[in-house]
Structures are given as C-alpha cells and as structure tokens.
C-alpha cells in the first residue's frame, strides 16, 4: 500500500521519494501536488524580490515575464529548510535583486505561482526542490 497524500500539511515533503520506496512506510506523506500541474513545466527568468527561508515552506518571490511576455510577480514554493539543506540550498543561496532562471510546475488555478522543479543559480549551479540532487518525483501512482 502506498501511503497517499490525504493529509495536507503545508510543507513540501519530498516524501514522494518515500512513497516510491516505502510500501511499509507509515510516514505521514503529503504534499499538495494536487494544487500544481505536475505534468506541466514553465520556465521563468526574472529577478528575485525575496527568498524566504521559512517553514513550512520556503518561497522564491520573483518578478518575471509570463509566457506572453507580460511582467508578473510569482510566488514559487519550495521545501522546508531542513529538506532543502540536504541538496545544497542555504538560507543565503539567493539574494534580492539576483537574476535567476527557474523551472516550475504551475498552479492549476492559473494564478502566478508554482512548485519549484529546478533553479539555475547565477553561479552556474543547478539545484532542485528536495533533499536530492535531482528533481523531486511527481505524485506517486496508486
């Protein structure tokens, strides 16, 4: 039995890695992947207005043009600091005013938000949204 995300806890548990391995796992798995279109990827290049190293989720606030080229403000959700630190993120990784390219899974609602898939940092490193040096898995198939 793969534990399905019934509980909504507002932190990005890349527990989906757990869901994949853990048929016997009782870890409270969650994530509100339901809010995001995990089948779609949007690339944004813009300027960081703030990097919130917070719980239950961290956020990248960024001004970037949308697919039509209209400048928009986006709120991008990341995992919690504890999870992110495992793949190389630090509280100081992003600074206000930095230019950044990110790939996100957008909100299904069409609002300017999404779940981070990948961040291409100004210094050339690529970081992902989870404890590992790879993109987090999508929702587990039941």
């Amino acid at each position: 039995m793969i534990l399905h995300a019934f509980r909504t806890k507002a932190h990005c548990a890349v527990v989906l890695a757990a869901a994949i391995f853990g048929s016997a796992s009782m870890a409270s798995a969650h994530h509100s992947f339901t809010m995001f279109d995990m089948s779609k990827k949007v690339t944004l290049t813009g300027t960081v207005t703030s990097f919130e190293w917070t719980n239950p989720h961290s956020y990248i606030e960024i001004d970037a043009p949308d697919e039509k080229g209209v400048m928009k403000h986006w709120s991008i959700e990341l995992g919690s600091p504890s999870i992110l630190m495992q793949s190389g993120w630090k509280f100081s990784t992003l600074k206000t005013g930095e230019k950044l390219t990110i790939i996100i899974n957008p909100l299904k609602s069409g609002q300017n938000g999404g779940f981070l898939s990948q961040a291409n940092l100004p210094d050339g490193r690529v970081l992902y949204n989870g404890p590992r040096q790879e993109p987090p898995p999508g929702p587990a198939q039941k």
Binding site: F6, K9, A27, S32, N55, M85, K108
Partner: protein, 250 residues
C-alpha cells in the same frame, strides 16, 4: 554484570556488532539517545532493518462508514485538483503518534534514567515518556496532542503506554475514542537502527488493534536538528473546506 560481559562477547563473536565508526557497546537498558532519521532502505539494502508491513486497519462498521466516505471525498477532491482541509493545513501540530514519522524529518531521543524526551524536527513537536512513575487513569488525563506516556523496560525493549489523545488528533484521519491507548515497543535492531512498533488499541472503534512500525537509522553524528517554526504558512482553508494557497500580491 557477568551476564552483560558474556552477552557482549557473544554479540561480538556472532558478528552482530558491526565494527563501524558508530558502533557502541550495548548497555542495559539500551540508550536510544541520538538523532534518528526515517529509514526506508534503498532497493537492494538489507531488508531486515526496514519496517515490516502494518497490520490491516479494521474499524467497526459504524465508524468505518464515515471514515471511508471521507476518504472517497478526498479522492474526489484530488481528482478536481483540490485538497480537503486537515488540521495540518493550518499548522496545527500532528501530536502522537503521527509526529514519530512526518515525511523524512528526523526525531531526537534524549534519554535519562527517569525520562525519554522525543523531539520531532517537523514542527518542533515534543513528547515526554516517564520511566519512573505509573500511568494515570484515562479519565484523569486532560485530552491533548501528546497525551501522557509512561514506559518500562522489557529486556532491551522500551514499552510505552500513551493515553489522553484528543479526538481531533488522529493518525491520517483514523477516528478514535477517548478509550484509545497507544502501545509502543521501541528497540534497537543494531546500534544504528531503531524500530518503533506502534499499536493503536481502541476497543470502541477498532475491531482489532492496528499496528505499524516506524524504522529509523541514526543520523550522522554531526547532524544538528533544524529549527521548524510554522510562521510562513501560505495555506488557508476556504469557506468550502478546500485548502488554498495565498500568494503575495505585488
């Protein structure tokens, strides 16, 4: 004392004690102090340290019906791309037993002869297990998130009894009565592998006890627990009980 030395030598001879950097001489009672990460075992890893499968969850029919109905609603909402409200969405603590296995967040055991304090990194939840005093009657314990826990040693296994969990604090939405008692059997399989076998006993709502196990592996010795204060929760529950995300306006 001789028995302990004998057991220790046997353990070494049998190769039970690995010679790894983290190997510790077994003590009696064992010392669970340390930081423990959730262990699932990568494919190919030794299966004996993984958690065994849980027993079936069997609620009595009159309680199972609403439970299944709720699960069906959650599944239907997920199909619509929506998530139904849970206490967690508003950063209400998980409580016992959920705090023992939240995602991949570690738990810290701080053990003294009279008390074990367990701190979950997720939401900084804290519970205390008293080793030097008896359990109270259920009706004398104010219902709460963590209940009242007392423990005693059976050989090298710590047996913990917890009562007094309030009705809104559930394991994955499984309903329970005030009569629920949670029994945990906590033991080391090896110096760096710990199992917490958790049994939910509820003669009112369960046909039979429900048992699952959380498997842990000791974190690297230099790991420091990360602070977790839920002060940037962007999720809220709308008027229809759906979880929504607040975006910053700019």
């Amino acid at each position: 004392m001789r028995a302990i030395i004998f057991s220790f030598s046997c353990a070494v001879l049998l190769g039970v004690l690995p010679g790894g950097a983290q190997a510790q001489a077994p003590t009696h009672p064992p010392d669970f102090t340390g930081i423990w990460g959730i262990y699932r075992g990568a494919p190919g890893a030794d299966p004996k340290f993984r958690a065994p499968a849980p027993t079936p969850l069997v609620l009595k029919p009159e309680y199972d019906k609403p439970y299944q109905a709720r699960r069906a609603e959650e599944a239907a909402a997920a199909k619509r791309g929506e998530q139904l409200a849970t206490p967690g969405a508003e950063c209400i603590p998980y409580g016992v037993p959920t705090m023992m296995s939240v995602a991949i967040y570690p738990v810290e055991f701080i053990q003294t002869p009279k008390q074990i304090t367990i701190i979950a990194e997720a939401f900084s939840e804290v519970r205390r297990v008293y080793l030097d005093r008896p359990q109270e009657k259920i009706e004398d314990v104010a219902p709460g998130y963590y209940g009242r826990s007392v423990g005693h040693w059976e050989g090298d296994t710590l047996v913990v009894d917890t009562i007094g969990i309030k009705p809104t604090v559930t394991l994955r939405g499984i309903p329970h009565s005030p009569q629920m008692r949670i029994t945990e059997r906590i033991h080391l399989l090896a110096p760096d592998f710990l199992h917490d076998q958790i049994t939910i006993n509820d003669p009112v709502m369960l046909e039979k006890p429900y048992t699952y196990t959380v498997a842990y592996k000791r974190m690297p010795s230099d790991y420091e627990m990360v602070e977790f204060v839920c002060d940037n929760n962007r999720e809220y529950i709308d008027a229809n009980g759906i979880v929504r995300l607040k975006l910053h306006n700019k």
